[in-house]
Point group: D2
Chain length 335, copies 4
């Protein structure tokens, strides 16, 4: 019962997922790859026991051996591969973003709805992270009462040169948006993006940003993006409930007492922080696909909703006002 997977896109993240499917998780093998750069695709395939190289993602999807598709290509190409997978009736795991525009996300949902069953999963890996899962479990257990405020902090030591102002929202905070929706079990309904005193390490960026969001039941949410904060890759989250709070604990596993300090390590980057989440994400996806079970991971709707929140956030950043978020009705398939 090994799931035969085809991987579209063999760049850094694609190769990492191929390693994961091949050496880490149980029950999958990579039988086909494709990439815009065929030389790279061939190199990657050469390291695998039995992988065919396809000239295009569409050919890969059409390959009869391929039972499920993983899309790791450049964002603007996501729509075409995801839709093709849907039309081929094959489960497709798509790295975030689901697509580059709200309209593209809607077209993907339309295709999936036409087929009448969930085939798409979006790569919001935080939902598979053990600390976040423990946080969700704490919330759902009612131990702190109903959530009233959620603080989300997203801190990077630095960002690459090509990082633009909007990316703090569409590339960075998008994870906070998704995980907030998931933790609260509610949609976000409005956003206001504030930029204050800029970090001198941030060049022309507006960094940090402090976003204030509202959820459908009135939970107030702040999202901080600090992407030049130097000290580490630090993901923070605290839900304030009616009778207590629950927060992500520090992830350091050893308390060091040295140099007049007692403390734990903060991760250096997102790989260190979320490597296990990626593993679990894929293992559960494989198990669900292989077992013919309904997918429970982030859906097309989740990809769409994140996109709409990002759009509203970018508008708020540019216009300086609170922007309402209108998702429309959620189709029953995604309930």
């Amino acid at each position: 019962m090994t799931l035969k997977v085809g991987v579209i896109g063999t760049g850094m993240i694609g190769r990492d997922h191929i390693r994961r499917l091949t050496e880490v998780v149980s029950g999958a093998e990579v039988v086909a790859v494709s990439d815009a750069n065929e030389v790279v695709a061939k190199e990657v395939a050469a390291g695998l026991p039995a992988a065919t190289v396809h000239a295009t993602g569409e050919e890969l999807i059409a390959d009869d051996r391929v039972e499920a598709v993983v899309v790791c290509s450049w964002g603007p190409t996501h729509e075409q591969y995801v839709v093709a997978s849907i039309e081929a009736g094959k489960p497709v795991f798509c790295e975030k973003p689901l697509a580059s525009t709200t309209e593209a996300c809607q077209r993907i949902m339309a295709a999936e709805l036409a087929g009448g069953r969930r085939l798409v999963q979006v790569g919001f890996m935080r939902r598979y992270d053990a600390p976040y899962r423990a946080l969700k479990q704490a919330i759902d257990s009612g131990v702190v009462g109903a959530p009233l405020i959620y603080y989300s902090g997203h801190r990077n030591p630095s960002v690459p040169e090509h990082y633009t102002r909007d990316m703090a929202i569409v590339d960075t905070a998008v994870h906070d948006f998704d995980v907030t929706r998931w933790l609260l079990g509610e949609e976000l309904t409005a956003i206001r993006v504030l930029a204050g005193k800029p970090n001198r390490h941030g060049g022309e960026l507006l960094d940090p940003l402090l976003m204030v969001l509202e959820s459908s039941s009135g939970v107030l949410v702040t999202v901080e993006t600090s992407v030049n904060i130097r000290y580490g890759y630090d993901i923070r989250g605290e839900v304030v409930g009616e009778e207590g709070t629950a927060a992500l604990a520090d992830t350091g596993q050893v308390v060091l007492r040295r140099a007049n300090s007692a403390g734990v390590a903060v991760p250096e980057d997102w790989r260190e922080r979320f490597v296990l989440a990626y593993d679990v994400e894929f293992q559960e996806w494989i198990n669900e696909v292989t077992g013919g079970r309904t997918l429970t991971g982030p859906s097309s709707w989740d990809g769409y909703a994140a996109q709409v929140v990002c759009d509203a956030g970018v508008r708020s950043l540019h216009e300086g006002d609170r922007v309402e978020i209108a998702l429309g009705t959620r189709p029953a398939l995604y309930s």
Copy 2:
């Protein structure tokens, strides 16, 4: 060199300060008391070695034996006693608020400025709390870089029946406003007050409130008031700097491992949390007054500024908008 103090107001807080002046701190004695309820004043005086009871605060201030005045009476009377003390040339420690209105605060400053020297200290005791002082020291040391965001959390297990909506701002958050100004060394320039999903324990209150403020250099500040949160009296604060963050640590002094948990106690109320801060506050005031040194504690200006921020906050709560805070020019006496 014992400082002879007169205390106006012998209610709960007044009696606590008399105990503090008499049994805890060094270098002071209480030589006179007065209260609107003369029976209570006489009872309190009876427990002191050598305290005169005065019919009015004005008489007490005029008493030649009284070298310094402590005002613990009802808020609306603060102005008259503080101004009378200033006019008598006597140092006066006034519990917060300095006065009930912005105009009253301005009249106090005018009186003090007319005298040409600082005589007034306002009872913002957090500035004397060891954890807050350690936080300020961390900020000032530059170890986390310039502050960019400050999160302030003010959580009460419950509030009394007479607590009104505005009190979350003027009675509760006023401490956060003052301590933020002090920590950052900057004025606050705008405030927006948000009320979301209400805590079911809060009755008609808007609780929690999430306030977003701006400082003169652009630091973004959030103040959370959660005044029915049941779990304890919890004062939180984290400054996000350019290269790191510094936060108030938990104050529990014993790690208990029991019942599947490892943790520390959260204080039950503000007395437990700030008792030592009050002691230090008085000791330093006494030392400065006795030593003829310039007062370094919260000044009339600080009392005035807190009042103006509160006024803006209340307006924002009622009107739903961002409200700018205009303090005017800070007189040189308060620089």
Copy 3:
């Protein structure tokens, strides 16, 4: 490159390892099982895609399809299956203990030495636990200087009825002995076992025990076993070095603030605490076996050394004195 594994012993731990080999780790399948209770063995096999049931462990080992053996049977049978595996030239993973007596461990080593290559791995899973690995990394990095003292704490909420006095050493502390040897990279040379005031929940047991050990370079080691401590399953470890200390951090992933406490959860039992360690243990073993690499996990020597320390510990417990530990020369195969 899937490793075909035969599992001897299909009791609780055997079935858990079969699940792990089948559903969790990558690159293995279970092709044969056997158990003293053939009914159970058949039930287990029925749940697997292609597993043969063998009447005896010896038959399973002789099965040509079986490339590697996992021994989860009753301790006294370990020797025979491990030796048979060695003689068949097949890698064998043996749950702890390696064997029931020192002499049996020596016979296993003799068989392995006769073959001239490492085939045996013992199931000391703590070496694969992320917190312990972080602790070892901290020690080896030199960040706290050379280790001088190591405190090891092993706490169980309770133990089953059949738990005897000696089991605190041979069943519980044996993990502390192994992980101490591994963390320090040294042998243990002496042990003294102390029993003080007994826990009223421990019946006739001597509980807790406090053991004081010495390592070859003179590191002092304490091992506490508290096996009726109710509050949780808590594994503690702190190395005191020349310039600092490093300790296992708490593993709870969410800080809960509720009911006047701020804290994290302590695991309920060893499964919760070490489930990921077992996964990693098997994945690495499979990878090494499949890749034809020299085994790096706990060896026969490690199983033997743990046994000798346990023997000395039991003697010390009974006789009340310090007992020296003599391992003899470590064969080059195990260096």
Copy 4:
């Protein structure tokens, strides 16, 4: 009701206590001083409002103005001043040690017993430290069940050149002995001192030492002295009870996130760690003396018991064996 205090010994610790009595605590003034070095004594007196300089401690004790005595002179002189104070019927606070030998301690007790009331308090300040008091409260509350093991850790970054091997016991661990007796409410009955691999920063010292003690009810106690550990002055304590454990929390008041670490500061030295304990110690002593109440602080018996444990510890260090501790019967005065 100001207590008039005479201070014998105006070295570093004496001057610090004079500052404390004069500027920090309430209800005391220093009216007389003496020192072996009269020049120093005169300098100190010159900084006080109304202090007489006496040529000898005995003269100071005889001074009618002196109502209570504080002994901060060199250890070998403690006995004579304490006995003289007792004979003069004056309360005497004596810095540790109470005296240099067991016999001297016994002579002090004899003198006090002859007078029939407690006049002596020994300067074991840890009993006044807020974290230790919280630990004792936790133990006494029964929240972790009856104590079974107590771990005490005493870490110094470094020690002065004149520090000898025995001082790790008589100067350093003596505090752990006293605080253990107080926390457990029991006497210590045996001690074994172990020296392992020495810290390379410790020169000829045996450092660290690991001591294993037993209490009258069978509680097992370890005391670690690490006096060259560089990283800070760190006082650790954890009691293991029948149903949980309670430990001193870290004392750092700010969590710093910087340089890939999240942690709190460890104190630099004992002054920083225990400054507040000294203040409370004196305030409570003054209140009890002034109020004519029975002293509740560390008594002559406590000073004596600590001395006997130290003697046994030194013998164990030199002889390498477990040494029993025999205190004799505790006089009713000290019950």
